[in-house]
Subunit: 480 residues, 4 copies
């Protein structure tokens, strides 16, 4: 379950000058963002001011089909969301976009990130009689917007005020009955990009790969603290008044984002190549072949090879048919479980000293198994190189990292102990300094709190109180 | 679509002294109430203060299955709801029970009826920043309860205050984390009964047939204006301070309720027998056989026969396998459509003068077709007798009657014109006086507003404004 | 499971002069025949000599939908089948119509009945190298037809020869690439009727209610031993050369057929009324009300009332929403199980001496429960009258009767013992003589073998050997 | 539809000394073979001589689930099949394993390959009265086995005789009630390997990757013409009496098999690396980067890079969430269709001279689109290198190649014309000589008929007659 790190969301929005099949565009956009969240998804379409939506648990290809998409397809703007839901939060009412009505109209909202003052916000709304249908902080953003909206004359003015009150990470797209609005927190924890469609419409998305999927061209990253408003009157930007140190999540480059995306001007693929190169510089070792764990270790393995001149090899085949409905092997069959999902190409490995590149180690169980199947396949040595530093601290900005007692880097004091546990011949993590060089042209700075414990913004003491909400209300979806 | 009249809901609640499979009981209870609403349903269970729920579009047997029921089955109290949703209101967020969290805990609410001040309520909440996920007035009841709850020290005190502010028809069951609460509007528009389970628990339901389904015994009707609170400390009743003229919907006896239910001390079957007898007295005719249109015309046909001494016959077979997934015949096949759902037993009809009993006429289309198939089957004469007066006015208390321009009794001035349109040899509706005699032992009085236009409570001018909400937000469920 | 008797099949066929949506017609026809088999169904359509089909486990409304029906809808002839499958025989390859290819073309076959020489037929084909995909005797009929077909110049000549070799009960409809053929065994165990569509096509069906469903008019019963061939050259009848004593299954009138059907010139409804009248003559008793167990006891209860002048009453409400997906109550909830499916109308029963009419008693369990709920509802006396004689022998002609050790009439020697077991105040079965009078105008004679053990044709000693086949091959359908 | 070449099947069989969850093993084995057929699949299990099965249209993860697998899971042997069905043959009765009963017992059969005398076989069986439920040649193999089986005393003797009568490609696994039998045609067109499980059982599979998935170890390839019989008495091999020139399908190495499989002693990955190397030798070109079209072009691109010393690059990201339920873009959205499934990594391409490696060209449409997106991404030159020679002839041994009029290599005479059509700067196919070197250690010879038109065995004139069968019988599955 926690053998890997999870991004919690991807967002997508589109505005077209003329009514068309906007839901189809969101559908393709969400397909391109599916790697950012596989638990649930939704699309909300605005047609003549009326917002219709479809939401459900499952992948884009499970929730949407020709019939239901047809029902909401037409409109001039739409937003969509893919979601990875953390434990306990698998409430159907948490699926986004959240679509609501309020005093001055209606609103659809999709959010990637995590608020740090979610508990205080919710508590204060509840004190005034608010009712909550779900447990996500996104519903609090909705209340915040509506609270300001009834006092101001535009949705963007309301959002501007809201951005002074909500803290933490948020890259959002929203629909009112006439506008598509995108806004990003002042630290820019999560990416958000703007593009242009062939029909002179606009697209907003978590990553540029979603622009490619709908044939849109990249315009620019939306700035930290910026609000972009798109309507029949054109596109308008509300820039932030004060500026904070940009704090993009470094793990977007290392793992979350798709290699074909470009974030803040840096190719994710290039950043991963660099991660491999930096690792080769920091932790060189003599070997016969460099291989990567698919999918995110592949690019870095090539980088390591280029830097070290040790040949790059294809070490694994990942079974591409394994999805949510895969029946996991029983305890006694577990031994073969890794080989079902990931099989080794023996020819690449046999009698070789192998450098194995992976993106991260959480509990160490998976690494342990992979090292073992390499040895079983005849590897003479296995040297594990990791393109992230060791996880030691929680993330409060939208990434789901296992609790500290489960993190192998918290359990063991030294690298050698971890290496020993995993069974590799040597082990090295990229350094914290190293990751700050992986996107060399990057004009912004990173958040590396999960490695260093140093967060760009103060974390309130009651940060974990919010989780009590997920204990008091749950729901189970009707099985399909 | 509007060839018949629709009840909008059925509610069910159970409280057991010990934890057990309460969801199963609600499941069987909802099966017994399925005739009150076939569009959607839901069950919410409270287990150690945590409320879980399952909701979905479809019949009880479509939404619930062994697997999902198992997930929520255990608890000591639960409520359920079956829903018929009016046009435009098929929003998944309208499906009940509505389950929410608020400042002092959580709440699940199931509601049968319709508020007459729904628009004003909603508007005032929205003015204060409330957000609405759906379009039903039930969400406004939730806000009303929460608004009072933050100022009082118990859910029942909150509900008591709410009942002075919400107007119209409501028979509700609710769950807090420790209590099952049932409350009924001061006019008692919709039925609500209390029963006792074999394990010394309590059951609340729209009709007694649901008590039978779970092996519970009937205690009494819940009084108009009463609040019943059931908790580990026992059962408590909060009686209304002021009294109104009881105004039970007469159509519960004529059509909505199941014949095996007993409402306000009167057997529904008996009331329908009486309707037939009264019709025989008011509109006698010489004939060879009396038949009823299944299902609700059957009992009245027997009553007509008993009173008139004209033999009772079985005139129709209803195809019991036709459900929601039935593929309706195309235009050219339409002629046989009635015969697929309802076929005539020729032997009963042939060469006979037939008295045909039905419960109501809305547009007249169905009656027209039925008269025709009787004639095709060899009926010499067809005399149509209706156990309700003619519909002429809207219902504001939870029944979905077609718009006035479609009502045959609004289109035509005289009985003869209607009879002519339908093609019967004679036609008679029961009189408004007549229906007031059909439940002879009934100690309460009826609401007959849909026949007379005289409603027990003042209908505000903005009564229809609320429907604007269903225009601005819609949703389409993922197809199963 | 065996608390009731099961018919095993219903068949339907249509031939239209012009191509049209023939699958839709079969769909409606099967809806009308659904009571004859609820486990599986199928439709095969012939379009320009190509036979397409859809088959599946489930009700007509579960197997067919707009999308899949559209794929096969067009053609000029089609056949369909509804199936009740006996234990062990729930093989997906047994679902009919069986559609095969052979040396001279293709063939689709749907069969109602049971062969008595199925074992010998199958054994002899297997000896010659035949392979069987399923376990039903219908596959042997196919082999028989093909074996003759390769030696003759028409499908009807082949079938004529086959009818001298296969023994037992069979009412069949078949499609070749150009002809719709219906044929019925020489004893006429199972009904089969011929009708005419509005577009000058022909329909063949197990019951006339299916003709009504497609707007066809009844022409005549197909004769025992007759082959009817319908093609572009018109309709042709091949009459049998030798004649046997007609032996229609009497249980078609008592239970299987729909009351609105007319079999061999006699209304099923009328026959049931008569069954009630005969019971009133044979086993009169003084009482206050006569009620029937829905659905098939209703007509007979009315007949008993008419003959005895004891008032007819409506005693039960059957829950019409309970289908295949109903979750049966657990052992501890079992007590209420009857009340969920069937609830009593207390008003009809209370303080009354009740005559209860049912169609049959198999194990007695259901009768016992129904008698108990009547007593619980306040019945002073319960007198059970059964419209069939006691089951004592197996049926070899297409009906699934429980094994003899489970039959209450085999367990107990006297009527009093059975009555005592069931808990009624008195009990009477209709006499074997009595049932021979229930269809008074019937020009044919009945098979009453299940009551008397006297079968119209010799039953071979190896009759049960065939069941060994269902032990050696099984299959489980993919869950939807 | 025909933009790619399709393998038609994968087979898997397991025999365990003790009863266990054999269906689970087949399930994992089929997952590993899913790339060989994605249209339908099935598993048949033998438990105490009784053969149960589950079959359905769809992927392994669509047809099987915990519930249905549980029903057949236990036994001591089982076989499975994945199928790609050619146009017109999507008959549910064609899904394998085919499970039948015959005079001496029962039989389950799974087949990979294609018979060249299928028409003659079928015609001769039909002449003797055989009936066919489907259109596949596998049913003819069943008839052939049964025909011999009734004359011999063992299934293996029957199969030995059958192998003298059926011609063409067949790698089969079969179950009788006591034996697992594997047999391979004398030319060895399709691979078939033998392995050993940890519990001393045996596994037979199309590829070694399926052995890995169930934790089995590779023993050896099953020989062309060999029959392997596994039972409680151990394993037995019946070797062929005469020998033919081995004729393994060369396309198994180029495209069909998984890179982690080892066929006839040669690693598929290694063979593809070699294909790249040979291409680099045969058709060198100066460039900046070598990239492969995922998935099968990747290995060859690395080989080309190694041989040419031009850097290997990662040029594409394939969207791994796109499955059967993906809604294809409409005509106007088509332009972006390639980018949704396959997006370019611009950083790798921009301003580069690109060598693009793909496995084959069928119609040329896909290559055309891929070349275009490379140019759009900034490639200065695009040089296309193909690891197979040009397709010019049909395959009669189990591969589905488009009809000759659609093949780009039949449409155009010269390489330049094709290159021009595709829009590349240069184009080269590997030579026919070249492919004979790609598996350098291979002790067998290949079939290269699709490139050369020279087939290892005589192709009868009536080879295409068999396709008439798929025209006369079709079926449509009930939608899930």
């Amino acid at each position: 379950m926690f053998n890997t790190i999870h991004e919690e969301c991807g967002v997508f929005g589109i505005f077209e000058p003329e009514k068309c099949k906007v839901a189809s565009s969101v559908y393709y956009g969400l397909y391109a963002l599916q790697h950012r969240g596989q638990e649930a998804c939704g699309i909300a379409v605005c047609n003549d001011g009326v917002i219709d939506y479809i939401k459900g648990i499952g992948l884009v290809n499970e929730v949407f089909n020709k019939e239901n998409l047809k029902n909401i397809n037409t409109g001039n703007m739409a937003i969509g969301h893919v979601r990875y839901s953390t434990t306990g939060g698998n409430n159907i009412n948490n699926i986004q976009p959240i679509v609501i009505q309020h005093n001055k109209g209606n609103l659809a909202l999709a959010h990637n990130g995590n608020l740090t003052n979610a508990y205080d916000l919710r508590a204060s709304f509840e004190l005034n009689g608010a009712i909550f249908h779900g447990t996500s902080d996104t519903e609090s953003i909705c209340y915040s917007i509506v609270k300001e909206r009834i006092k101001t004359d535009s949705i963007e003015s309301a959002i501007k005020k809201v951005m002074t009150k909500i803290k933490g990470a948020y890259s959002c797209v929203a629909l009112s009955s006439t506008k598509l609005i995108a806004f990003r927190d002042p630290y820019g924890f999560r990416p958000l990009v703007l593009g242009k469609t062939k029909s002179n419409g606009y697209v907003v998305a978590s990553e540029t790969c979603a622009l490619d999927a709908v044939g849109a061209t990249f315009i620019r990253d939306i700035l930290p603290g910026e609000i972009v408003v798109i309507s029949n009157e054109g596109i308008k930007s509300i820039k932030p008044e004060s500026h904070h140190k940009k704090s993009l999540c470094i793990f977007e480059y290392i793992y979350f984002a798709r290699p074909d995306s470009i974030i803040e001007g840096v190719s994710v693929h290039e950043a991963r190549l660099n991660a491999g190169k930096i690792l080769a510089q920091e932790s060189p070792i003599d070997a016969d072949v460099v291989i990567g764990v698919p999918d995110s270790g592949i690019d870095a393995a090539l980088g390591y090879s280029l830097e070290s001149n040790i040949p790059y090899g294809i070490g694994f085949i990942k079974n591409k048919y394994i999805g949510r409905s895969f029946i996991a092997p029983s305890q006694e069959e577990r031994e073969n479980a890794v080989k079902i999902k990931l099989n080794v190409i023996k020819e690449t490995i046999k009698n070789k000293r192998v450098i194995l590149i992976d993106d991260s180690i959480v509990r160490g169980t998976t690494s342990q198994r992979i090292v073992k199947i390499l040895r079983d396949a005849g590897a003479k040595e296995v040297h594990l190189r990791i393109t992230a530093p060791a996880f030691k601290y929680p993330c409060h900005f939208g990434t789901d990292i296992d609790s500290q007692e489960n993190l192998i880097a918290c359990k063991y004091k030294t690298n050698d102990e971890i290496c020993n546990h995993i069974g590799a011949d040597s082990l090295a993590f990229i350094s914290v300094n190293g990751i700050h060089k992986l996107a060399k042209d990057l004009y912004c700075t990173y958040c590396d709190g999960c490695f260093t414990g140093k967060y760009p913004i103060r974390i309130p003491n009651n940060i974990n109180n919010i989780s009590k909400y997920s204990m008091t209300i749950k729901n189970i979806k009707k099985d399909a």
